[in-house]
């Protein structure tokens, strides 16, 4: 492991690897990435792998739209190969008029930004997914450019791109302390040795507080447990992801053939908890069989849990902090994987002192002290 670094990125998920890759592309030298376990082990590798542009805030729409453009070329650009980006659409279903009205309002924001989403009738939804339960369905919303992507391959593509440009990636390396003098960071201490550096990027998602505490800071990011199950693989039969706001769940058939589905309970205590429970399996099975009755004969093979590292308004926290120089945050949105390409790009631009492609000042951690939250209601 290197003894000195110009930049240390903490976190080997999609955001950490994207930040390292983008910094290297910007010309930063001597970048070291530290990952406590293996790449994607935290939140990225446990996510539902959906990619969505139908958001309710301009910022989320812009970041996700920009990210989709990068996902299209990432595999080729890094030389990794196919990262399984399939734009087979998201079908958002509502079973009551209040939800319909809320999502219809979001369309106005999306259309203003050029996102090709639209409201459709239950009958049209049934044409898209013939076995969806349209009984009592109020409306549906569809965006063809949403879809699925393989989170492991995507992260490894970022990692390959980064390593090819000289980034050192250290797996199974735990950060135990960050040393500072006044406003200046001086080094990052790990269980494998110490790295002298004056610049650190915190990209650990739900573990944000653990790293923050090392500098005496309290980052407003809480882990919210979400559980997922996957079924045996079947022939491709469902194009779009089916997401129901009545059930707060999503169901998607991935290219491999398995159906991935999940939801989270926002009322659980906020802590890191990787346990998966029978109660989830039963609830999720009920939600799935209601929405897609044909799934009743499909077998579940595996379930697991992961976390959304989520800020008070569900938006990313990007950029420097007021207390220290050279300490940057790139986390906090609970959907970091799908936004990771743009988050990496924006952070790299910011750190290089350039004009950022999107105005990320509004995503600074200082928005919480000022009360300028950007509330996103559409996180599932």
């Amino acid at each position: 492991m290197r003894k000195t670094a110009d930049v240390v990125v903490i976190g080997g998920g999609s955001i950490g690897c994207s930040v390292a890759y983008n910094l290297a592309k910007k010309g930063f030298k001597n970048i070291v990435l530290l990952e406590e376990k293996y790449l994607t082990s935290g939140s990225t590798g446990r996510c539902g792998a959906g990619i969505r542009q139908m958001w309710g805030t301009e910022m989320n729409c812009l970041i996700s739209r920009g990210s989709a453009e990068i996902f299209k070329v990432l595999g080729e650009e890094t030389g990794y190969g196919d990262i399984e980006f399939r734009q087979s659409g998201y079908l958002l279903t509502t079973y009551d008029s209040v939800q319909t009205e809320r999502l219809r309002k979001n369309l106005e924001i999306q259309h203003k930004l050029g996102i090709n989403s639209h409201m459709i009738t239950p009958k049209e939804a049934k044409e898209m997914v013939p076995f969806v339960n349209a009984d009592g369905m109020d409306a549906a919303f569809f965006c063809q450019e949403d879809g699925h992507i393989n989170p492991f391959k995507t992260t490894l593509a970022f990692a390959k791109g980064a390593e090819d440009l000289g980034v050192e990636i250290n797996r199974y390396t735990k950060v135990t302390a960050i040393k500072s003098e006044g406003r200046k960071i001086t080094s990052v201490v790990t269980d494998k040795g110490e790295i002298a550096t004056d610049t650190v990027v915190n990209a650990v998602g739900p573990w944000a507080k653990y790293i923050g505490k090392m500098l005496g800071l309290s980052h407003p990011v809480e882990p919210e447990r979400h559980q997922i199950l996957v079924t045996e693989p079947l022939e491709g039969m469902m194009g779009p992801m089916v997401m129901s706001f009545a059930h707060d769940s999503y169901i998607q058939q991935v290219p491999h053939g398995g159906f991935i589905m999940g939801y989270g309970n926002p009322n659980e205590p906020k802590r890191i908890n990787f346990n998966h429970g029978w109660d989830f399996l039963e609830e999720m099975a009920k939600k799935a069989v209601f929405q897609l009755p044909v799934l009743k004969d499909v077998r579940v093979v595996r379930q697991w849990a992961g976390h959304y590292g989520i800020s008070p308004d569900g938006q990313p926290i990007l950029g420097p902090i007021p207390e220290f120089d050279g300490y940057y945050l790139a986390l906090g949105c609970g959907k970091g994987f799908m936004l990771s390409p743009m988050i990496g790009k924006l952070i790299a631009e910011k750190m290089a002192g350039e004009q950022t492609s999107l105005p990320i000042e509004s995503l600074s951690i200082e928005r919480f002290a000022k009360g300028e939250l950007i509330v996103e209601t559409g996180v599932v």
């Binding site: 376990k37 293996y38 790449l39 994607t40 082990s41 590798g45 492991f152 391959k153 490894l156 797996r171 199974y172 079924t231 045996e232 693989p233 491999h256 998966h276 029978w278 399996l281 039963e282 099975a285 009920k286 799935a288 069989v289 799934l295 009743k296 004969d297 499909v298 077998r299 579940v300 093979v301 595996r302 379930q303 697991w304």
Partner: protein, 92 residues
């Protein structure tokens, strides 16, 4: 026997050659090997192949098998139909 004819994971058609290709490329974490290749992720959930693959990883790295990062076994141990789970007590 040819390495490409030795199936380590039968559910996902993962051969000894596939494993060695990944190891040769520098990917030595079994957790990452699983996620790239899908080995141990099929209907048997690694019950027949996980230790076999771990043994081959250890042999390649010339390390003890206990040093291999073995992926977790997860519930349900046997595949169960969604309809049976959703039925709850009715199917007890």
């Amino acid at each position: 026997m040819n390495k490409k004819d030795i199936y380590l994971c039968r559910c996902e058609n993962f051969t000894l050659e596939d494993l060695h290709n990944l190891l040769d490329s520098g990917i030595t974490s079994m957790e990452e090997i699983k996620r790239i290749s899908r080995c141990t992720m099929g209907p048997c959930q690694g019950k027949t192949c996980k230790e076999l693959i771990a043994k081959e990883v250890a042999a390649y790295l010339k390390k003890d098998i206990s040093t291999v990062d073995l992926p977790t076994y997860r519930a349900p141990i046997k595949p169960v139909k969604l309809g049976e789970i959703a039925g709850g007590d009715k199917n007890a």
